[in-house]
């Protein structure tokens, strides 16, 4: 009798477990340490909860093997969907191997935020190889382009105020987050190129990197972490040489992300700039994190590009739920998101210059 009871209990537990696992998704993150991704994570947990899907968030801590192992383990445990924030962004072979894991287990594979390849045709071919897959991201070049457009317009409008030494040329510094990241590379390139296009079209000279010796025309966080510590310390070093008393003050700061923008602002504050009242050097970032919005509202920062964390999370949750339930991939998707070629959902960026 006892044995029978135990068996019944065990069976019911097993059934219970299976029933629970019905809507269960593994979300494998590039890193928990990133401010923007954390805002996506918070939003995604809520979006999945609203759809009745249980989420397991795993931190890869920027290590690809950790991510790959987590995904294989999740398949063994019996997850219903793999939601992947690829660590090795731009590496199609890694993405393909993870997609194959999903395909082998017949599970939905939803990639988001970090691009699988620099080449859209290559990425398209990969996603078309498996029906239950999709990519939700941004056009990774768009942030830099939009930032450049925003800078161009801002500089044009305030040219004489920005040109502190009155030499007719705006000198700038560019802070790059990581030498190996595709988004950082694109932002570093277009943040200046697009601004220059706006300026030269209006008959103004192009922006000039403050230091002629630096052929790269950027300063990079050597740890590759897009950190405010790096931009803060660089600012201290360059302002000791380039300042108003030497007549060669940095007149514009462009950063790949808000964290680095804020690091620069915090140093500027220590030398009497960007306190929201007096002299302000225009500083631009990307991401529109809370701290940057607060800085913009306080007049300490000029602008940022908003990555729509809630929109990203909403699209990921909708598509994952559709795939789990066997519905059409894009059913019920917000119309503001562009669906490209049946595999790529683009969440648009937006300029943010204060509310």
């Amino acid at each position: 009798m006892k044995k029978l009871l135990a068996l019944v209990l065990a069976m019911s537990m097993l059934l219970g477990a299976v029933a629970l696992a019905d809507g269960n998704a593994l979300v494998s993150w590039y890193t928990f340490g990133d401010v923007y991704l954390t805002s996506v994570r918070t939003a995604l947990d809520e979006a999945f909860a609203a759809k009745g899907i249980t989420v397991t968030d795993k931190d890869s801590n920027a290590i690809q093997t950790t991510q790959t192992d987590d995904i294989n383990t999740a398949v063994l445990i019996g997850t219903n969907a793999l939601v992947i924030n690829l660590v090795e962004s731009g590496s199609i072979s890694v993405a393909q191997s993870l997609l194959d894991v999903a395909k082998g287990a017949n599970l939905p594979a939803v990639f988001f935020n970090r691009a699988v390849s620099q080449d859209d045709a290559e990425a398209k071919a990969m996603f078309e190889g498996y029906e239950k897959s999709a990519f939700i991201g941004t056009n990774f070049e768009e942030a830099g382009k939009m930032q450049g457009d925003m800078i161009g317009a801002y500089v044009l409008e305030n040219y004489d105020a920005i040109d502190l030494n009155g030499d007719g040329v705006i000198s700038y510094v560019m802070f790059k987050g990581d030498d190996a990241n595709q988004e950082a590379i694109a932002r570093t390139k277009y943040g200046v190129e697009n601004a220059d296009a706006v300026l030269t079209a209006a008959g103004k000279p192009a922006l000039k990197f403050y230091d002629d010796n630096n052929a790269n025309k950027y300063l990079v966080d050597l740890n590759g972490t897009w950190s405010n510590t790096a931009s803060y310390e660089y600012m201290g070093t360059i302002l000791s040489q380039y300042n108003e008393s030497n007549g060669n003050m940095i007149e514009l700061v462009i950063a790949n992300n808000d964290d680095m923008a804020i690091g620069a602002i915090n140093y500027l504050k220590t030398v009497g700039y960007n306190d929201g009242k007096g002299k302000t050097i225009p500083v631009f970032g990307v991401d529109a994190v809370d701290a940057a919005k607060a800085a913009i509202d306080a007049g300490e920062m000029a602008g940022t590009i908003k990555q729509d964390a809630v929109g990203m999370a909403d699209a990921v949750a909708t598509i994952t739920a559709n795939l789990i339930e066997g519905k059409d991939k894009f059913e019920g998707l917000n119309e503001n998101y562009r669906v490209v070629d049946g595999w790529f959902v683009q969440i648009p960026y937006a300029m943010y210059t204060g509310e």
Binding site: V35, V220, G236, N243, A291, A294
Partner: protein, 326 residues
């Protein structure tokens, strides 16, 4: 024959002298080179003060980890401890208003650092674990703790520590420079004038011999790590104030920079050797090189190569001294 040998002896001596003082010579030559290339900007007051500030910010952490290296150990937990301490400081400064807030914050983060240092030292001393493993494990736990309690939120921080203490011809010198000097003096005293300091070197050069001669090895190890923890905690507070906010990247790989600086300064991984003046020199040299690269417009791949080469060359030079002594 003797006349033929004479010049070669003096050449050897010159070479020896050059190698023995290589680090100082490199610093001077690099300083001169960068100064020439930048029309003197590198050695003008604003950058001198900039270097002073950068050195003051990084020095306390290096002084902490130096003790662990004197024990022939290491400590990888420092960087994440800085991140956690920065967060704790940000919370305290945000929650309490008034003059006392930064003081309470400093005490709290140092207490947190001491607690973690105790765990590090206890595991190392009691269970004979290598500090590399112990601190590898604890740094993960510290980062996990940080992520759990903070949810990677950024918090703005401001306090007196980053405010100007006085001005030198218009250049602000912040309070944390003074704090760094005080800490350095205290650490010099601890290393050179206390029984604990002498015991630390004894344990570092030969643990068994120290034990036989009556040194409380376990206590010494624990105390070294607690002291280091306190200094990491302090660094977290300073960094959060200096940078202006606490975030998940705060402190990341600081331990590597600190260890590199300490080793450049001649504190040997062999154990039992090292001087406070060497640590100061190492930190200063590291900051000098990083700053010089920014001045010279060196960025990207080349910067990593230079940084790595400096660490390697410094260690070779240091090891050479050790081998000749033997």
């Amino acid at each position: 024959m003797t006349t033929a040998k004479k010049p070669s002896v003096s050449t050897t001596r010159v070479l020896e002298w050059v190698l023995d003082h290589a680090m100082i010579l490199i610093i001077i030559l690099l300083g001169i080179y960068t100064a020439i290339r930048t029309n003197g900007g590198f050695v003008k007051l604003p950058n001198i003060i900039n270097l002073l500030k950068l050195t003051a910010a990084r020095l306390p952490m290096a002084l902490g980890v130096a003790g662990c290296i004197v024990l022939a150990g290491t400590d990888l937990s420092g960087g994440r401890m800085v991140g956690l301490a920065g967060f704790i400081a940000a919370i305290i400064i945000g929650a309490i208003s008034g003059e006392a807030a930064p003081i309470i914050a400093i005490l709290a983060v140092m207490a947190a650092g001491i607690a973690i240092g105790f765990i590090n030292g206890f595991c190392m001393g009691k269970f004979k674990l290598h500090p590399f493993i112990v601190t590898l494990a604890t740094q993960l736990m510290i980062y996990g703790l940080y992520l759990t309690v903070s949810n990677s939120k950024q918090i703005a921080v401001s306090s007196f520590a980053n405010q100007p203490m006085f001005y030198i011809s218009g250049q602000p010198v912040p309070w944390y420079v003074l704090l760094a000097i005080i800490i350095t003096v205290v650490m010099w005293f601890v290393w050179n004038k206390t029984t604990f300091g002498k015991n630390m070197f004894a344990v570092g050069s030969n643990e068994e011999a120290a034990r036989v001669s009556g040194v409380n090895v376990l206590f010494t190890i624990i105390f070294v790590f607690m002291l280091a923890g306190a200094l990491y905690g302090y660094t977290g507070f300073i960094e959060a104030c200096r940078i202006g906010n606490s975030s998940a990247t705060l402190g990341l790989s600081y331990e590597n920079d600190a260890i590199s600086a300490v080793v450049i300064g001649g504190v040997s991984f062999v154990g039992g050797t090292g001087k406070i003046s060497g640590v100061i020199l190492g930190v200063f040299m590291m900051q000098l090189i990083m700053t010089a690269m920014t001045f010279l417009g060196i960025s990207g791949g080349v910067a990593y190569i230079i940084k790595g080469a400096v660490i390697l060359v410094a260690c070779i030079l240091d090891m050479r001294k050790y081998m000749t002594k033997k």
